[in-house]
């Protein structure tokens, strides 16, 4: 049983990690992340990079939907804007990768501010529908501004170079994608130790009360859209470098729904939820495939079990929502509490 984690200062109370045990676990995590590329094969490295990109985008959406209470279905459009910006800069000007990613984030951020304007008048489902417009407009721009975007054929992105190293494999990209995602996560976690983050939460809990308390809704709602879109833009940029081919159809509406599902399954309004949700949504279909592959069912197993696997994945999401509406983050917390209080029951 854990005892004696009394806080003696406000700084200690607001700390991201409040005990030595937690710091030890962070150390284990960092060591695992550093060791992973040397022990994993190309397939697991690919999945690790994909998960990291999805975590970055899910974190952005969680800032907006989970923390500020503004439902958005425009996440894929912002990712697309980031991806196209990065691709265009890389192809035409060959500018450095980090600068391109930053530019991708900024372009998406500006678009996010514009798309966020209706959030001042509408909420909930109405806002979700309004943000779908972002996807429609972005798709139109990607398809029809062919001189810039390559039209329906899209763009092939040359590999990025960092310090003379050509990032043309999952192993090399891992060393850029994962640190950027970690930075984005730390940034988001720290945001909620500031006035801005607390204002977002106040708006989510009751926007009228927040305004009465002196939080300007216009500024903070747009700021939430801006930060969320910036995250999506950077994630989109990483997507462009990772897949190295983008078309207007790389960023469909279903992708936005995927990220919204990741936020809900992971746990709205928690950083851990963003991570767990993105990991769950990305890896569970793959893990189910592995399980099906291990079953001694012969050659026709894929034909028979593929639809079953899809149904199981859907069922898992539904069951999570029914039995744990606070998401995987809450499941994680309960497990932690069990260990903290052991041998007593919660």
């Amino acid at each position: 049983m854990r005892i004696g984690s009394a806080k003696q200062s406000y700084a200690a109370d607001a700390a991201l990690f409040d005990s030595r045990t937690q710091w030890a676990w962070v150390g284990v995590l960092v060591a695992s992340l550093l060791a992973f590329p040397f022990v994993a094969n190309e397939y697991w490295l690919y999945l690790a990079c994909l998960v990291a990109i999805n975590i970055a985008s899910t974190t952005g959406l969680n800032l907006l939907t989970g923390y500020t209470g503004l439902v958005s279905l425009g996440q894929s459009a912002f990712m697309g804007l980031g991806a196209y910006t990065v691709a265009i800069l890389q192809i035409r000007y060959g500018t450095p990768m980090l600068l391109n990613l930053l530019a991708g984030g900024v372009v998406a951020m500006l678009a996010g501010v514009v798309v966020g304007v209706p959030s001042l008048r509408v909420k909930g489902l109405y806002l979700a529908i309004a943000t779908i417009a972002a996807g429609v407009i972005a798709h139109f721009v990607f398809s029809h501004f062919a001189d810039l975007t390559g039209g329906s054929a899209g763009l092939s992105v040359p590999p990025a170079q960092v310090l003379g190293v050509v990032l043309d494999s999952s192993f090399k990209l891992y060393w850029v994608i994962v640190p950027i995602t970690v930075l984005l996560l730390i940034g988001a976690a720290n945001l909620f130790r500031t006035r801005i983050g607390r204002a977002f939460i106040a708006i989510r809990d009751r926007d009228i009360s927040a305004e009465v308390l002196g939080i300007p809704l216009l500024r903070y709602k747009l700021l939430s859209f801006a930060i969320s879109s910036f995250y999506a833009g950077v994630a989109g940029g990483l997507f462009a470098y990772f897949f190295r081919a983008i078309t207007p159809e790389s960023f469909p509406l279903i992708m936005s729904i995927f990220f919204l599902a990741a936020v809900i399954v992971g746990g709205m309004g928690t950083m851990l939820g963003s991570v767990l949700g993105a990991v769950f949504m990305t890896l569970v279909p793959e893990v189910l495939k592995l399980i099906v592959g291990w079953l001694p069912l012969g050659e026709s197993a894929m034909l028979v079990l593929s639809p079953v696997r899809t149904i199981v994945f859907g069922l898992m999401i539904v069951l999570f929502l029914i039995f744990e509406p606070h998401g995987l983050a809450e499941v994680w917390r309960r497990i932690r509490r069990l260990f903290h209080l052991w041998p007593f029951r919660t």
Binding site: V28, V39, S152, G154, E249
Partner: protein, 400 residues
């Protein structure tokens, strides 16, 4: 020395975390070594067994399996068996890539089937880096037919522009100077042949009646039908759809008395897809690069074998998968017969050396391969009385 439960759990978890990945990788390597002996040729596939393209994926998968089983029973490729390793992708590019990475990290893959244009594009740099794989797939996008840009890929048939060109050649021959409309979906798939359509109509002395673009997944096409009626084309070519909204278009057009001849491209042309369009689609035409399952004209030993193996109708996707496996393994056979290393470059050279190749009746004429596409096709017409697609033209080879 005693250890607290929490400390023990932490230590165990940390050890497991650090050990699980290498163990997993080792287990996969062992599985690969066990499952695919070095002498086997490995045929990987990112196959859409679920999702919107599952109807085609299941048929393609069956076609590949059947051809490889015929091939392996007759001794394989230069004495080497071909091992088929498919993975479901749900027709999503990220999952297709994951399948590719998984299959290639567990097997020494030589041949590969790709499920979509998006995946063909995304995997292209990886193919060049890998160097050991020859790939074909379900994409007929014009861009993939660029052999310089996609040196390790090819398509099993004409690209979409060439499909439309085959239809236009047929139209120009049947009704010179005819008015032709193009109806396409506002997708990458739909927009693919638009420019070629414009150029080819002009070249063949045909007139463009109108071009109509429909939003992806549109159902109500009343406004588009009015536009089509105003243009009153002799022929209207649909592209970028599997079925909907084609039946709606045809029903509404027939309802207002239009006599236009409607046409489609490969993915619309499966027998069951056309027959489900309803009686107004009787006479619906389209381009087909392969013969239908039930075609009996001429000598077609492979089709007969297929009919023996599978007495029930097999979709056109099956023929595509069957021919894909035939051509990929033929490229491997020629490479090995020449004593060359089995890699993407050598296999592509071997593939390009194919001249007057007899597909056993899968395509009605001998084929020669030059470049990334095979611009051969035939126009078929729906006969609702027989519930079959019947030939409306001879085989049209755009290279001749």
């Amino acid at each position: 020395m005693t250890m607290k439960k929490r400390t023990f759990m932490a230590a165990t978890a940390a050890t497991l975390a650090s050990l699980s990945s290498p163990l997993l990788a080792q287990a996969q390597k062992k599985a690969a070594a066990k499952g695919a002996p070095a002498e086997d040729i490995v045929f990987g596939a990112s196959m859409p067994m679920t999702g919107v393209f599952a109807f085609a994926g299941i048929a393609i998968d069956a076609g590949i399996k059947d051809y490889l089983s015929i091939l392996n029973e007759s001794g394989g490729v230069e004495g080497r068996k071909v091992k088929y390793v498919p993975e479901d992708t749900a027709y999503k590019v990220d999952q297709s890539m994951a399948a590719f990475k998984k299959i290639t990290s567990q097997n020494k893959v030589n041949l590969y089937y790709a499920d979509s244009t998006g995946f063909c594009k995304a995997v292209n740099p990886e193919l060049e880096r890998h160097g050991g794989i020859l790939m074909t797939g379900a994409s007929f996008a014009k861009e993939i037919s660029n052999a310089q840009k996609y040196p390790h890929q090819f398509m099993v048939g004409p690209d979409y522009s060439e499909m439309v060109a085959i239809l236009l050649q047929y139209i120009a021959k049947t009704k010179p100077g005819a008015k032709v409309a193009l109806v396409y979906s506002d997708t990458e798939f739909g927009r693919d042949p638009v420019e070629a359509f414009r150029a080819d109509t002009q070249k063949l002395g045909l007139k463009i009646a109108t071009e109509i673009v429909t939003p992806p997944g549109s159902v109500d096409v009343s406004a588009e039908v009015i536009k089509l009626r105003r243009a009153d084309p002799d022929y209207a070519i649909f592209h970028g759809y599997i079925s909907a909204p084609i039946p709606e278009f045809i029903n509404q057009a027939r309802g207002v008395g239009m006599k236009t001849q409607f046409m489609g491209t490969f993915w619309t042309m499966d027998n069951s897809t056309v027959m489900r369009m309803g009686p107004n689609a009787d006479g619906f035409m389209g381009v087909m690069p392969y013969r239908y399952y039930y075609d009996t004209e001429g000598k077609s030993p492979m089709l007969e074998k297929i009919r023996k193996m599978r007495p029930e109708y097999q979709a056109t996707g099956y023929m595509q998968g069957f021919l894909a496996a035939m051509l990929l393994t033929e490229a491997a056979r020629r490479t090995l017969a020449a004593g060359n290393e089995l890699n993407g470059k050598n296999m592509k050279i071997a593939l390009s050396s194919i001249r007057n190749f007899d597909t056993g009746g899968i395509i009605g004429v001998p084929l020669s391969i030059k470049g990334n596409s095979i611009p051969i096709g035939r126009v078929y017409k729906a006969d609702f009385k027989q519930q079959k697609m019947v030939p409306a033209s001879d085989w049209i080879n755009l290279t001749q």
